[in-house]
Symmetry: D2
Subunit: 510 residues, 4 copies
């Protein structure tokens, strides 16, 4: 199932790159950022933008933004506009309905008394409305509805302690973090520095990679330090395609300064006493690419463990286990392995079916999601099928698939869902259908199997999901070591499950 089917969507991806060593660099900074954003494209397809700096002038950035996919927005021609640059940050944005306008396209740039700053962020401020009012009361007009502008204008404010001629960006960032507890992973660029910041709850991911010299196509320049550098990204999956190595996560509350000389932790803003971290558990379930690493573990492994856990929680007598391609495949392989049934493909995807035109009363309309799949009927004719899906959110997309399988000869179709039902809205950066649209809140949920036409349907339990995420001892240990290293003593592993259980990491404000 794809996000568009599920009606659930991440808000954004952020990516930064800074060339190490002597400047001007030989590193193709704008190209690196572009490819980095391509690696984050699954986090947002609406618009993309890059802002670069030569690192010399605090007053001139190069900017290119546009609507659409990264590869569409950044042609060779538009990339030329971003050179010469030694550092830069980029952003890719999710297509939320209605306000998909270029104005909201990031990174957001403003001129301050001390030069220009650019901000790219992923997340959603839980107290945005209060902050907007505060700014407006101060006499600042806000030109967009985006949290990025809000963050940028808050950063443009001079805190009382600051001397007029020497901006104290760290103080300003801490000021911002004191104003708003969550949710944001953000990059801020000023002149020759990129600041990478993750909110104290660590709700959204952010990690750092190291660009190593790879040489040119003939292998020359493998030791060319002039092509070294740092990258910072929402997900580590974007590192491989640019020849970068995973370095480490930015910790919850951490303010990292990336300069041509090094990567430094400037400060770690703590959470209120006792509050656990609240990394979004749906990054593991849905959003992240399976090859990304969070908290020391690969997303793919968590998903496979979810499948294994599901096999323990909800076994079924059947002939084969299969997947709704492609995102449920790790869980399906985990389920199959755990219960000893063969893993078999029953559906193949037509990757050319895009946004399909809609015409009222059209006979083709009702075929719905089935248009996206071909059926491999020989593989399951007369068999009992366990079909693993990664979620059932609204319940309107799995029925046609079950119908397809039955009509093509499946004897039984049992649905197993590798995540718990979503019941509550998210206010931290994820688009979720309205409460009324969520199948888990509807009367049909009582007889869900009947409603969707399955022989049985079982979701993974919340506990099962949490333990699948947290059970990895190695991950936990590494992670705790990390926390110690970073002197983040109050650190407690924790994940936000608000959309499942309705308990939010911070009090919500309006």
């Amino acid at each position: 199932m794809e996000f568009e089917e599920l009606g659930i969507g991440e808000e954004c991806g952020v990516f930064g790159c800074l060339a190490a060593g002597s400047w001007p660099t030989e590193l193709d900074v704008p190209h690196v950022i572009t490819l980095g954003l391509v690696g984050l494209q699954h986090r947002g397809q609406e618009s993309a933008g890059i802002v670069t700096s030569d690192g010399e002038s605090a007053h001139s950035f190069k900017v290119h933004k546009g609507m659409g996919l990264v590869n569409h927005v950044f042609s060779e021609d538009s990339l030329k506009k971003l050179y010469v640059s030694n550092l830069g940050i980029g952003h890719t944005r999710y297509s939320t309905s209605g306000v998909s306008v270029l104005d909201n396209c990031q990174p957001f740039v403003v001129e301050t008394l001390h030069g220009k700053i650019a901000v790219a962020h992923n997340g959603e401020l839980t107290n945005a409305m209060r902050l907007r009012r505060k700014l407006m009361r101060h006499g600042v007009g806000l030109s967009t509805s985006s949290d990025s502008e809000l963050i940028t204008q808050l950063l443009a404010f001079t805190p009382p302690l600051e001397q007029d001629d020497t901006p104290d960006w760290v103080a300003r960032i801490k000021n911002l973090m004191n104003e708003t507890p969550t949710s944001y992973s953000l990059l801020m660029m000023h002149k020759d520095i990129i600041y990478a910041v993750r909110d104290p709850y660590g709700n959204r991911p952010l990690c750092i990679g190291r660009l190593v010299p790879v040489g040119d196509i003939n292998g020359k320049g493998k030791n060319n330090a002039a092509t070294e550098g740092w990258v910072v990204s929402s997900e580590s999956c974007s590192f491989l395609s640019i020849g970068a190595e995973y370095y480490r996560e930015v910790m919850p509350g951490e303010i990292v300064k990336i300069s041509r000389y090094d990567v430094q932790t400037l400060d770690i803003v703590p959470r209120p006493q006792g509050d656990p971290a609240a990394f979004c558990i749906f990054e593991y379930v849905y959003f992240a690419r399976p090859d990304s690493i969070f908290e020391g573990q690969m997303v793919y492994s968590v998903r496979r463990r979810c499948g294994q856990q599901l096999a323990i929680e909800a076994p079924v007598e059947a002939d084969l286990v299969s997947t709704v391609p492609e995102s449920a495949t790790p869980a399906a392989l985990g389920y199959a392995q755990k219960c000893g049934l063969p893993y078999v493909e029953v559906l193949c995807k037509n990757r050319y079916v895009g946004r399909t035109f809609i015409q009222p009363n059209m006979r083709l309309r009702q075929l719905g999601v089935a248009k996206k799949f071909g059926v491999l009927s020989d593989n399951f004719k007369g068999k009992r099928v366990v079909l693993i899906d990664d979620s059932i959110v609204r319940g309107n997309t799995i029925s046609p698939i079950i119908k397809l399988l039955r009509e093509s000869g499946a004897k039984e179709v049992h649905i197993r869902v590798a995540s718990p039902p979503i019941k509550f809205p998210c206010y931290m950066g994820i688009n979720i259908p309205t409460k009324e649209e969520l199948i888990a809140n509807r009367p049909e949920f009582k007889d869900l199997a009947g409603y969707i036409g399955a022989d049985s349907v079982v979701y993974l339990s919340v506990e099962g999901l949490v333990s699948s995420v947290q059970e990895s001892i190695k991950a936990r240990q590494d992670h705790e070591n990390n926390l110690k290293t970073n002197k983040f003593k109050s650190g407690k592993i924790g994940h936000c499950t608000a959309c499942l259980v309705g308990v939010y990491p911070v009090e919500l404000e309006w």
Copy 2:
């Protein structure tokens, strides 16, 4: 000669429309604004934008902007987005080199504590840098380089006297006008009101028109008061095409409030004692459409008078008078009439020659401006031609035309220019080539006739231009009466001739 040839360009046109009578109106407000902007298209071809309001909510505007000509930006589809609306303001922007980006596209909209405001303006603030620094020192980050954002953020500020819950927009506008003396004609929309403001020097034009019911295509609804309304525009030339009648000019320093009930003068901000008004004299010479009315007189008439005056100042023995089409034609007809020579066409224009591709070393390159004209050789073979141009700014476009005429048989070619030479930069909203590019500042100017290949060349004198503009007694009287009516006692007729003589209406700041 077109502006693009001359290298001189106006910055903008503004247009607003507000439906009178009961709301929701039957008036097609967005269509009216679109056509109004089409009528101002000569003032700016880079981008266009419209913001509309239903007049009910202070928090929701409808916005559409885009790069390119008005007709390109506003399709039927994009216009639909602007409905339902009872009022709105629009803007069309000149293509200045380099920063032609959507970000600078107006009207500029921000949200304030009291709802959204939209601002469209024409002009350039002479103390913009100081105001930018002031705002930034206050902690406001500026996201564009446009004066419109500056104006909007200044308006977003709460003046000390204002109570939190009741915005005093007039006080804010006056506050703004105290901060910056010139140059701006601006429209500001908030909820159900359009404020129309002209700076105390009246440097840029602004006038008001009344929409009278015209009925539909079958003549029905001629008395339908529901289609009445007010329009406000940089130039009156845009009124005819929307069925509006010229009402009056906005006076220098005047703040006009346009509501569904009436048009009121809220205040008139005076100039410093003794300062005359400083309406840009080049609006008459170049920028305005000939059918526009300024200060009670038609631009066309002024241009013809310039031609007549030129005939007095610089007569020449010749066989015929002609024009560089199309803008110099009124002056040519005036010149011909005054000196009793026949008016004859010698050039015809190929209106399909657009921005011509450029290829280095191409034989076609050097044909230059000649590509735009056909030569009507039978009309002047063996004759002595007086060719009237409305200006010679850089001197590089008239030579190929003279060459064409000579090669096609003209016996003599005398150039008469219906305006004085430009020698100084403008800081009030007009793009002028650099001092070095201006032919009047170059050594070739001493033998300009020789340089451009003419038998003689004479410019209109500054005094001649000023008297052509001011001599119209009727215009002067009407205007003075206007001034009295509006209690603008300190009113002195005056025109800015800074680019000709180097004396600016206000002290320039950096």
Copy 3:
């Protein structure tokens, strides 16, 4: 009035260029053709195409075509595709309703046994249906509805006499000309030759120009014979902009061969005994650019003579003479001069008003053509105006103009039309509204002045038009000399007035 208003339209323009001297040439053949087509853009705005050849291989042409204006279709990038070339032909096509598809875009190219041929033509075959059936009966499937494909397939046929290995293109062209008497001016390119052909009646124009070396932008290479060449064009107006000199017309029935060595008349196909030539008289009235030369006279001069003749035929007591800009201006100047009244401008054009969006019931709809004009009211308030138009075809565009003038203070408005009323369809390449749409065939025509709201309205007589076209003695003599030179003994001056009088130069076939 523009063609779009009139509902009358030319079909096409053709343009060819062949470099003289040694090949590969230094001449920018594709750029020359592009600029040549820009000069013919008034003859067709729907689509444009260019086919070029290096002159070496008979089997490889370079082709680029597209919908829209020449400058839009031919960017620097698309022009690159047409190099290296030593000769080429191009075409620009009128936007006829309905079938405006790329398939019909010319030049048309086919491969024959002897290599590729490309054909560009202007005109319409009066016996097209019969020829289509003939070809189809022979087993040729026709892929478009265009006459160009028809002509090309007819040229692809081997005439009986031809030896298999040596194509006799002249025989084939003569064969084609025997099959169809009119109307066509066409260019055919094969390998290293351009054939220029005009039908025996000379219904459509075609003329030849000589490219002289102009040197580069620094004046170098003025004697560079390597940039010499030949051009051939529907109208001579396209010569000036490419630095070409007018050479001569292609005569009715003439087959001209243009090679790198010279320009030769291969043959002249005669008309049936007694038939006069039938050059379309509306090329003079409407279609051609005023600076074009036909039959030894400038179009502008003919139009001015039409105005003079109209002053003789239909004088009126009035205060001033004016024009509906821009096409009626030569006639208006002629009229004014003849009757001794001053020529004054009363309308100015908003050149940015394009295809205006249409919305049913919109108040703005009925303003109609008025949207295109501004009114120079000061010039005619209280005066009696004679307004010259170049035609009134459907009668629906002049009324709003008259209304505008009256409302702006004109005391009287007399319409004088510088051509006779159109009453009959054209089958030779011109789009004319249906008989029912033509005002001259409608009952309102009896009281046309009343219908359009004028004080009086008079058209030019057919005799007046013909004499204005033919009276120029110099033109006639030159032309007759031309005819003799070309041994075209049966030559009789003649013009097609079919749309005015209903008598067609050839019998029509269906």
Copy 4:
């Protein structure tokens, strides 16, 4: 591996639809064809076209074609142009380098003496050059280089026996089939009939489906016979998405007539004595979608058998079996199952990596294909991996993948290729790299494992491939029964393996 990586490409897909029952139909014929073409999109992404007919007039088709993907070419707006229609055919075309122009976009339409015909075809005529010369000698000019035009013009020819007024399309089709033995699967539409033809060797696929009433989105109209109809498609995979049922294959040499009344076999043109059928074996290996059915068997099953056969032919001691996603997955699952090793995913795909921009000297360049994949390193760290690929054609794409796996911790990487090496060109519709580019013909092939950096590499044998395709007894029996039913007595199962062994089904002509 995708085709673009492999450098191998199918030429086309064809799809037709004809409404059964009373006309005008309620069936959305143009929408059905569009979705059918979307289901064939993997066979060609360059251009798409649809031609429809109302079935009443033989002279008017509705046509829409365009460059790009089906969903891009056919918007709701362009689909409207194709209504009202009761039948139609469509085409999707592969992007071959160089001649990707709209001119070659199919279906090809020509007007004949008996009305218009439209042709869509998949394949390549082995004697095209001879046929082109024959047509041109007859006097037909050919406007494109496509075989479709050739076929269409051959069909436009009247065979000697035909009476002028009654076209015998079957005789014409048979005439065509006698002229050219292979390779083509084609659809021809005339008025109210679609003819579906497969060449005598059956080189390209073609099959028929039945549209059954599905009712509207509310389930109404499930028995509405007015929405019944027939579809014909290159592959059956396009049936499911339009609610059609698989009916049967068109047999080699068969001419099928599809009318509103029924589906009839008009004739079966035999192959020369003794010649076996020659269905392209690479349809099974590469081109077809896995859910398509050829010769009674599912493509997916054949691919899995290839994997099983490969496990028998080339076993290896290892820890896990994996796939280069996505096309090699069936073979990988077959291999894993056969040799008892676990199937594990090692790569995940970034589906947003499109045509990546290329910049010389860019460090990112050399990352090459690696940009498309993420590595699931936790799944294989320290393990011996058998990686199944569906082919190695040029050998330049597998090396970076092997390098990625090794760098991410794979202990050993053994490559197993589920098809034999390609050594010879195809002249029947498949683009294959030049002989020199094919890795199997290069010196590196001797030590391929070393060259690509693998521990071992083995291809499937030709015999292994053929037996995997032909071993399915059920398939063979069904197929033979089919052959008998269709009286196709000379039928011998056979597959074209020309690109593997160099023996072509027919003698090649030039």
